[in-house]
């Protein structure tokens, strides 16, 4: 009789513990001055790359609605790659980054970093549990964390746990492994964690002018290949991301900032490209916050191998 009671009590206690664990553990520096311009670094941990990317994008979007200027994640990745800190995205360890140097390279007041993310799921027919845990911190001048939050969220259920609501239990068990549940957990995690971050007031923020494109040059490069190459050179606001569209199927061809404010990209013509007649080149620039401008340049004549004189941009 005694052992039978224990067999009922022990699982009940275990289930109560599973469903009851949670809560954000926060550490905040007394001297914390919340920065107005931040970047969110790639996340790390044992969760899948997709899950880490999603968490990162949620953190960024939730920071933006809390009156912070936040760099675009793609821009941050580009700078990290250029500096050799982000070579292989699938094997990235944010804790190995020199945070102070990263913050300086990006030119932000603070960086937000997440690590030790783990996503767990098991389903034993009568019982299931889906969980997500991790640590998110903000690092400002000096490199030490000014705010750090450790949190775990979970969904537990199953007929064994929800014996009093069997319809709900069956429905929840059936859906427990779906991407929707992870999305819901991720949102709950990010919302809980960022709720502990002090907020700025809107008046404390300043905004730089939007990026501008000043000049676009299109020319054909001499090439041994019969198809040839087209070079686009753009003068625009420095430290942006510039791309161009040449054809309906050739969009967002990247460029490189070869000098401050000067961007260059080359498109190699391939078999099947139809480049007869005037060429419409659309050039886009995005600043680190994601604001963008576009200029359309119409190349006055057909791009042929005899073309040597570069043409200048013509504002419509």
């Amino acid at each position: 009789m005694r052992s039978a009671s224990f067999l009922w009590v022990a699982p009940t206690l275990l289930l109560s513990w599973m469903s009851g664990c949670g809560g954000v553990q926060v550490q905040i520096s007394k001297e914390l001055a919340v920065p107005s311009v931040v970047a969110v670094l790639p996340m790390g941990g044992e969760a899948t790359p997709r899950e880490l990317n999603y968490l990162r994008s949620r953190v960024r979007e939730q920071l933006r609605v809390r009156y912070l200027n936040v760099f675009e994640n793609d821009y941050v990745d580009r700078v990290l790659s250029e500096r050799g800190w982000l070579a292989d995205p699938d094997r990235f360890d944010p804790e190995a980054l020199p945070v102070a140097e990263v913050r300086e390279a990006l030119g932000v007041e603070g960086v937000v970093m997440g690590h030790d993310f783990r996503s767990g799921y098991w389903n034993f027919l009568l019982l299931y549990r889906r969980s997500l845990r991790g640590v998110v911190g903000m690092y400002v001048a000096g490199g030490e964390h000014s705010w750090q939050a450790r949190h775990r969220v979970s969904r537990s259920g199953g007929i064994l746990l929800e014996l009093g609501q069997i319809f709900s239990a069956l429905r929840n068990q059936f859906q427990s492994g779906s991407p929707r549940v992870f999305v819901a957990l991720a949102e709950e995690f990010v919302a809980d964690v960022l709720a502990t971050l002090p907020e700025l007031q809107p008046g404390a923020l300043r905004r730089s002018p939007p990026p501008r494109i000043a000049e676009v040059e299109v020319k054909r490069l001499p090439s041994a290949a019969p198809e040839g190459r087209i070079q686009i050179t753009v003068e625009a606001t420095p430290a942006g991301v510039v791309s161009f569209d040449l054809l309906p199927e050739v969009v967002n061809m990247p460029t490189v900032e070869v000098a401050p404010g000067r961007y260059r990209g080359i498109y190699t013509v391939v078999r099947g490209d139809e480049l007869a007649g005037p060429l419409d080149v659309k050039v886009h620039i995005r600043d680190p916050f994601g604001r963008q401008s576009t200029e359309t340049v119409q190349h006055p004549s057909q791009v042929t191998s005899e073309m040597t004189t570069p043409s200048k941009s013509q504002r419509p």
């Binding site: 609605v65 292989d88 009093g164 819901a184 199927e249």
Partner: protein, 354 residues
């Protein structure tokens, strides 16, 4: 059937109806065109028209008490706190979508500068004035019309309702309207298994954490309608049957070792024909277009061959980094098959700092 027997069935039917989700969406062709790209909107502060009662106030206080850790801010207006929470949750959910959203702090600051505040912000007749002041293509309004709990002894229901409307600047009319109510019911409709659960479950169903779940769920589901993105697409994990087939991807190298200035990185792929193909150089350069250069007819489905070329510029220095190839449906850019090319990793050394 006698009236005596019909009464409990009618009660149960009413509870089932109460526990269901209500969802209604109306869009116009202008909205589909806006979602195709380049459209920019401002989301004005939300209005709260939900019936106010004791539960309303206490539940918002629980959610809103962490809006600031600075302290000393005095009492938080529960209505304003709720409107802020819902607005933020919705804006952060749609920011991954194709429609660009003005930052909330820019929107709020500019509205104040133009003398637009208070109840004037909720009046849709001001939409054009707001759109011109903020230089956006459309203005999105939100109304929290349900935020309630009800207890019926053998059943309890918590519900959250949000209504949205997008007014277009050009056409001067509503191009997106959506309304959603989500309810969490506990008690008879959950399938009680005994007398104790009939009494206990409705009380357990009044906990505030359910309101938080409902809030996030309502904003998430409405955001999915607004952006056209499912949870799977947001996680970049669409179902395998919905994405093009990508059967082969490789790098064509003229030589081993790092690429120098002027040299080309060529990537080839084979997969479903007439798809949109791109490749990424790690996280350094993303979405480099690939061109379909040949189509092979096959009884299992036409196969397309794709080529993408990246020319190294002076000053570039990255790697070793992997190449990722993605093949997406032309009619749905979110339905993509992505593959990492395992070998070789690419190095670019054309001078420049590292």
């Amino acid at each position: 059937m006698s009236l005596r027997r019909a009464r409990p069935l009618a009660f149960l039917a009413a509870l089932l109806v109460l526990s269901c989700t209500h969802h209604d969406v109306r869009t116009t062709p202008e909205f589909e065109a806006a979602r195709a790209g380049g459209y920019r909107i401002a989301v004005v502060p939300f209005e709260v028209t939900a019936e106010k009662d004791g539960w309303f106030v206490s539940s918002v206080a629980r959610l809103g008490n962490l809006l600031s850790l600075e302290g000393g801010a005095g009492e938080i207006d529960p209505e304003k706190a709720l409107a802020t929470l819902m607005r933020r949750a919705f804006v952060s959910a749609i920011s991954q979508g194709p429609i660009r959203v003005m930052e909330l702090w820019v929107c709020d600051t500019e509205l104040t500068h133009h003398g637009l505040e208070g109840k004037e912000l909720f009046r849709k007749r001001n939409a054009l004035r707001i759109a011109e002041a903020l230089e956006v293509d459309g203005v999105l309004y939100g109304e929290v019309f349900r935020w309630n709990r009800h207890y019926y002894v053998a059943e309890s229901v918590q519900s959250v309702g949000l209504r949205l409307e997008l007014i277009d600047r050009t056409s001067r009319r509503s191009i997106f309207w959506a309304e959603r109510i989500e309810r969490k019911a506990s008690g008879l409709t959950g399938g009680p298994t005994g007398q104790i659960s009939v009494a206990v479950e409705p009380i357990k169903g009044l906990k505030t954490s359910l309101m938080e779940e409902l809030t996030r769920s309502v904003t998430r589901n409405l955001a999915a309608e607004f952006t056209g993105l499912t949870a799977e697409e947001m996680l970049e994990a669409p179902r395998i049957e919905e994405v093009p087939m990508l059967s082969f991807a490789s790098i064509v190298s003229r030589h081993a070792g790092a690429l120098r200035a002027g040299e080309q990185l060529t990537v080839v792929a084979v997969g479903s024909a007439n798809s949109t193909a791109r490749f990424d150089i790690g996280r350094y350069q993303r979405g480099i277009p690939m061109r379909q250069v040949a189509v092979t007819t096959d009884p299992r489905g036409d196969r397309g061959s794709y080529v993408g070329i990246y020319t190294v510029q002076p000053g570039e220095r990255i790697g070793p980094t992997p190449i990722y190839v993605s093949l997406c449906r032309r009619t749905d850019e979110a339905a993509c098959n992505v593959r990492r090319i395992l070998e070789p990793l690419v190095r670019i050394e054309a001078g420049g700092p590292n």
